[in-house]
Amino acid sequence: MSGTPRVDGRPKRGAGRRGAAPAAKSPGGPWTAVSPPEWREFVGSWLQASGCSVRAAARGDWEVELSDDLKRRWRRQRVRLVFDPLRPTLPRGAWFTAPGSGAGRKLLEAAIEVPQITRRTALARVPGAPEEGLASVCKVRGLSWGHSRLGPVRYDRRVAFHGVVTGWGGLPWQERWVVLLGPDGEFVEWARAPELPDIRTREGLYQINQELMPERCTRWLAEAHRHLDRILDERQLEWERSVGALRDAELSRLGKFFSSRIEEEEERLRRRVTNGDESDFEQGDATSLKLEWERRAAEVRQRWAVRTEVRLWGLEEWSWPVADLEQELRAGAVRLRLTSRVDVARGRPALPACPSCETPAEMLVRSRGAVRCARCA
């Protein structure tokens, strides 16, 4: 049986989360009607993880003895799953299981119903920071960097919120977002992707012992909402612009059409044209045309109305390796020691603070005998 679920019930690591998206079929290319093997693998893993027992049946089908929860949910003891999309007939009571089929949706609904929370530890890179230290992120002019010294690695708690953003208006679209917040709820990064990029997880214990208080969870979630709102504002404006252009084009075409028709109708009335062939003219008098115009315009506006929904379905509490980096900056006789925080999971130091204004500096220069960022200088 191809794609038989793994015996331990755990999905193959990388199959979904860290794996590639399902091979999108080329829209113009020939379509092969086969059930994608990753789909079978997912169904098997999920059923086993839900406590069902799965065994192979004839013709690549599966006989599934449902878990108690699923028995109650679907009101049946067992089910036969058919994956072959070319099978013209199904055994009595069998479910044709594909991502968009009725049974497939039923299964997916159950699979995504309960939001998930997990804990992970990000794997520290070796070396934890680039050899050149802060020089890799901060340029200098009239100065030179000395040796860098990386402090001991410690773990920060960061929270990654996973959500699905759906937009309606025109053809609905969907995006999967993940937003990473720091220990105090500050924004760290976000990705329009199902997962944080360039992060490897470390198997084993979660590195932070301290349990979270409920109030802190609430605060964190509120912060997540605030940051997501901000990101969505930008995204929605972008979308509104593209949709608005199409809507306005349609409204303008409608406007031209109806105003011409009204004009023609009034012209006809003025001339009292009968012409023997009334059918050549559009239907309706000017008033009903005006009413129809409004109705059509409302329908167009409704079709293009922008609506967005954000569904937060999960979060990851990360124990994230960080370390302090210390590096000397030389300018003739002047010696200045700069410190910065290094994201050890990515091996990337943060920008050092400007000694003058204390904002993150991308470039430091020597100015009037002191070291300043390009802006201060």
Binding site: W31, F96, P99, Q116, D233, Q236, L251, K290
Partner: protein, 645 residues
């Protein structure tokens, strides 16, 4: 319309303190005063243009203003549940989280360039042109389109994919499919079997409008005065109209009804958007997207040449305008290639006894139908029609019906039925048709073939005869369970040289590994014949297909074959064309009924021959009309780029 120098223009929206938002539809002067005509919530009002009304900018719609503004997205309640679980310390192992993430990936959709519905279709052959058309309908035409593919290219499948896609993406919730009354059930079955869309057929005074989200109905029923208000009230998100050429005339109730519905999405399915007049094309385009080809006056001025209503001018420009409302794929644009068909008629030499019995039973049927005047119920009409068909199939089949009739004659001449039954018993012992079949099989030299019959009793007779002559056939019929059906087809695929199948085998099965079809009996319905042949003559068939029709001279089947094969050359048509031709002829009723009616109403063979010749003439005219229409559509879109192999 007289434009004035005010700051207002038609098409703008303004806000009135009492009436709310309205659309300015006219600005003019009336007795020296500047006046605005504004539609507020379906009512036309006149306002003074001297006053300073609040103008609403084009980018903001009332729905957005009320429902959502940027920065206030709707938060799904799952976020609250997430917090509850987090606060209660419910932490899952990472593997479960990953599984959930994967479920999200399958449940969602990545972009708008991929059709998520494709994975879920069952038993449907999909082709690149269909996928392209669906993407075009949804992307470029925003769900309002005329699907005008040539026949046999799968307009129904395209409509089904679009429906399923919109439903899966949550873009539509309610769907109305309007089809000819005779196709309601067929559409319902197809949408369920292939797309798992559970439609109900709405008919009768109660109807299902507004009660069920997915409804199929005939256009005539939906637009009926009794139902019109309810259909409109149901506010369907998407409306699909099959055979939309019925909406070509803007003066018809059907056109007006659809125009009034103005659903969010609209699909019109027709292979012939223009028949006699370019106005028809204008009407369809206007229904889908008003203004896409201007007003009719503009259309006539720009695209019609003189008094010729059929030929357009300025075709490149018209074509480009039509591309914003119409998707048309021609067979030549695709790589769909079929191998040739060879059709043979194997004339069965009936014995004098068989010929006499056929004549006697036919007379009995004709007398009985003529005498069967019990009103609309007509208790024996269908039984007698079946009996007539069975005689063309096998005496065993006819005998079983005669036996039933003799047991419960219900007004028929029981003595005569019994006599005929006894004669049928004698004749069925050694039917000449079976001998012809065995000779035919012997000539095939063991090559795989499918023998189709309409009746189970005939099937049993064939199977028994084949087994007696040492041929082991696979048997397929509707009474088998799914496992037995699959086994039978497997056996035929791998071992048995012959498959004996009833009509059940003619539906939804791909048997391209075989290239010979033997019609042991000939259905009077040409669509059924086409369906049988279609099991082997489809994409993927590598060899020329051979169709053998077993027919006895002087029978009703001989007349049917004469019309289908010789007169309208049905076997040369491509898939779907016969349906179009019959559609053009449809005012005369069903082909089967017509054939039976001609048969029983003809007092002698000479009259019968003449009447069948007249029927053939009608169908030939229908075929010619169809060909002309097809040629007339040619200018619409030139051959597109070929599909990639």
């Amino acid at each position: 319309m007289e434009l004035t120098g005010t700051r207002y223009q038609v098409g703008q929206r303004l806000r009135h303190p009492q009436f709310g938002e309205g659309l300015v539809v006219e600005v003019h002067t009336d007795r020296g005063r500047e006046v605005l005509e504004v539609v507020f919530d379906g009512r036309l009002r006149r306002l003074s243009a001297q006053r300073d009304w609040d103008l609403v900018s084009g980018e903001e719609s009332p729905e957005e203003a009320q429902e959502q503004t940027p920065g206030s997205p709707r938060w799904h309640p799952q976020g609250d549940r997430l917090l509850e679980r987090w606060q209660s310390g419910a932490v899952s192992p990472p593997a479960l989280f990953d599984l959930h993430a994967e479920a999200e990936r399958w449940a969602g959709w990545a972009g708008t360039d991929r059709l998520i519905s494709l994975d879920s279709l069952r038993g449907v052959e999909r082709f690149a042109h269909q996928i392209r058309s669906c993407l075009k309908v949804m992307h470029d035409l925003n769900g309002r389109a005329i699907l005008a593919d040539e026949v046999g290219l799968g307009k129904t499948i395209e409509a089904g994919i679009v429906l399923k896609e919109y439903l899966l993406r949550g873009a539509v919730r309610t769907v109305l499919v309007l089809v000819p009354a005779s196709l309601c059930e067929q559409w319902r079955a197809e949408l369920w079997e292939k797309f798992e869309l559970d439609f109900v057929v709405s008919r009768g005074p109660a109807g299902q409008w507004g009660r069920h989200p997915l409804v199929i109905s005939s256009l005539e029923t939906a637009r009926h005065e009794r139902h019109r208000r309810r259909v409109r009230g149901a506010n369907y998100d998407i409306v699909v109209v099959d055979e939309a050429h019925r909406l070509r005339n803007h003066l018809t109730l059907g056109w007006k009804f659809i125009n009034d519905l103005s659903p969010r999405y609209l699909l019109l399915l027709t292979a012939t958007p223009v028949q006699n007049d370019m106005r028809e094309l204008y009407n369809l385009a206007t229904l889908v997207r008003p203004g896409s080809v201007g007003t009719f006056t503009q259309f006539r001025r720009d695209f019609l040449s003189g008094h010729d209503k059929r030929s357009p001018r300025n075709t490149p420009r018209l074509r480009s305008l039509l591309e914003s409302v119409m998707v048309r794929t021609r067979r030549a644009d695709t790589d769909l290639a079929f191998t040739p068909r060879k059709v043979e008629t194997l004339w069965v030499g009936q014995t004098p006894g068989e010929r006499a019995l056929y004549r006697q039973v036919s007379d009995f049927v004709a007398d009985a139908v003529r005498g069967d005047t019990g009103g609309p119920g007509r208790p024996h009409y269908f039984t007698l029609m079946v009996l007539q068909k069975e005689m063309g199939s096998s005496w065993a089949a006819a005998r079983s019906t005669l036996e039933k009739l003799s047991r419960s004659p219900d007004g028929l001449d029981q003595r005569r039925v019994k006599q005929l039954c006894a004669r049928a018993g004698e004749v069925s012992a050694e039917p000449s048709k079976l001998r012809s079949l065995l000779r035919c099989l012997a000539a095939l030299g063991g090559e795989k073939c499918i023998i189709f019959t309409q009746f189970r009793s005939t099937q049993d007779t064939i199977v028994a005869a084949l087994e007696d002559s040492g041929i082991r056939p696979a048997v397929f019929h509707g009474e088998l369970g799914w496992r037995e059906k699959e086994d039978a087809l497997d056996r035929f695929r791998t071992a048995d040289p012959v498959l004996v199948s009833t009509e059940a085998g003619g539906e939804g099965r791909n048997l391209q590994f075989c290239r010979i079809v033997i019609n042991y009996d000939l259905p009077w319905n040409p669509m059924r014949v086409e369906q049988r042949i279609g099991r082997v003559h489809r994409l993927g068939q590598a060899h020329p297909v051979r169709v053998v029709n077993l027919v006895a001279r002087g029978t009703i089947e001989a007349y049917v074959l004469e019309i289908l094969d010789r007169k309208i050359r049905m076997f040369e048509l491509v898939v779907g064309e016969m349906e179009e031709i019959l559609g053009a002829w449809q005012p005369h009723g069903s082909f089967e009924d017509e054939v039976f009616k001609l048969w029983i109403e003809s007092p002698n063979p000479r009259v019968r021959k003449r009447r069948f010749a007249e029927l053939a003439q009608h169908l030939m005219v229908a075929r010619r009309l169809y060909q002309q229409q097809k040629e007339r559509q040619g200018w619409l879109f030139p051959a597109a780029e070929k599909e990639e192999a």
